[in-house]
Symmetry: C2
Amino acid sequence: MKQVTRRQVLGPLAIAAGSCVLSSCLSKRVVSSSDGITGQDVPWPYEELDADATAARAYDGYRQGHCMYGAFVPVVSQLAERRGEPYSSFPVGMMRYGAGGAGGSGSLCGALNGSAALIGLFARNEDETKLLVDELFLWYEQTELPVYEPAKPVVAGQMRKSVPNSILCHVSVTMWCRASGYKISSKQQKERCARLTADTAKKTVEILNANFAGRFSSVHDFEQDVKTCKSCHTKGSEKSNTRGKMRCGTCHFSLPAEHP
Amino acid sequence: MKQVTRRQVLGPLAIAAGSCVLSSCLSKRVVSSSDGITGQDVPWPYEELDADATAARAYDGYRQGHCMYGAFVPVVSQLAERRGEPYSSFPVGMMRYGAGGAGGSGSLCGALNGSAALIGLFARNEDETKLLVDELFLWYEQTELPVYEPAKPVVAGQMRKSVPNSILCHVSVTMWCRASGYKISSKQQKERCARLTADTAKKTVEILNANFAGRFSSVHDFEQDVKTCKSCHTKGSEKSNTRGKMRCGTCHFSLPAEHP
């Protein structure tokens, strides 16, 4: 009964989703039949989208619901316009929680959190999710942003760029404030984050398009200093005492003198 | 047409959701009618849940889909079992992306990310979201965890506790590895994170229960050292050059000598 319902809703789309054929979609139910979840679990079928149109929607979306919402909604809304359910029933407003690094905490950049959530919605397994999230996060950490120039900017003018050097909102925003001279929560800082949300949404669609067309390959890798740290500290190394893939020196900027 | 569909699905529940009466639910549509989103946007009605039963489900959920999934699914699945739609159609498997601080990056703890997503789903406005997320995140940062003791532990035995001192997976896990002597990705570390996921899910339900019964008030506040840092660096202060609410000293552990 579950499968019939799912086929009715997702059948035509599954064929359109490149390598996400129906059988592979159906094989990924991750919850038991006793948990009350009877609808369409992941992966939801993905269709190629226009990256520039997505960026424009994300820029506008930032003003409606901040960074995570701004990055997440454009993809779901475009698929909803084309295909209706199940996309049209996603409670997109929930993604407002990710603003300012989740509830304003300054942790994971909301544009990245929303984009990673999209990857979680469409990816066919955990390895694929990690592969695509890795590429997105490393791109963000290492790229001068924002690049996006809106057709109708809320705050006009040339935008100072900076390399976030971190996937954390707190660091990313501080780095930009330092580079630009603007204060936190200024209209210029919000404009920077709106444009960065557009950049991140665009990159995410480029990654998803490539992945589901079977032509994705990672472009970004850890910086050399991160590789050096990991050689002693990551899983399976001598110390095996830390986890994560964030750039180390952004927080560990002043290691004790006795560190080798 | 939208409202009729929404009333049909959510009408009975909205009455059961304490102060989330139907009119307030309907007033919170955050997307325009041209975006293809036609289903039930936030807030979804919340009903009081048993916190201990939620913890037990979260402990099991961790083994099925890691930390973010483990924290998110128990609440949605219990409401789906009671009420069916729209809960039963939420694509819960997407929440696997939050594992290990999102794609293994070590940023926001997945149990917190999943719990904050729940708050985003049920809260009635952005101020409420921030208020509840603040309480949850500060509780996590300042509390010796894990406390939860499973009836049927995957890894038996007394569990060493530690104060995470951070909402970041990278720091939280490293602090525990340092306190316990166990290595990263050991079966003991995974057991610790499974129990911590249970603790976080339980706390989230306690917060949601209190909030929708009209008896929520914040218990946790910033540590004194954070307040001192914020007096110069946060929005509206002299420098206004950082944003966030994370404990400062966890990363800024060795400030330059010239810092006042």
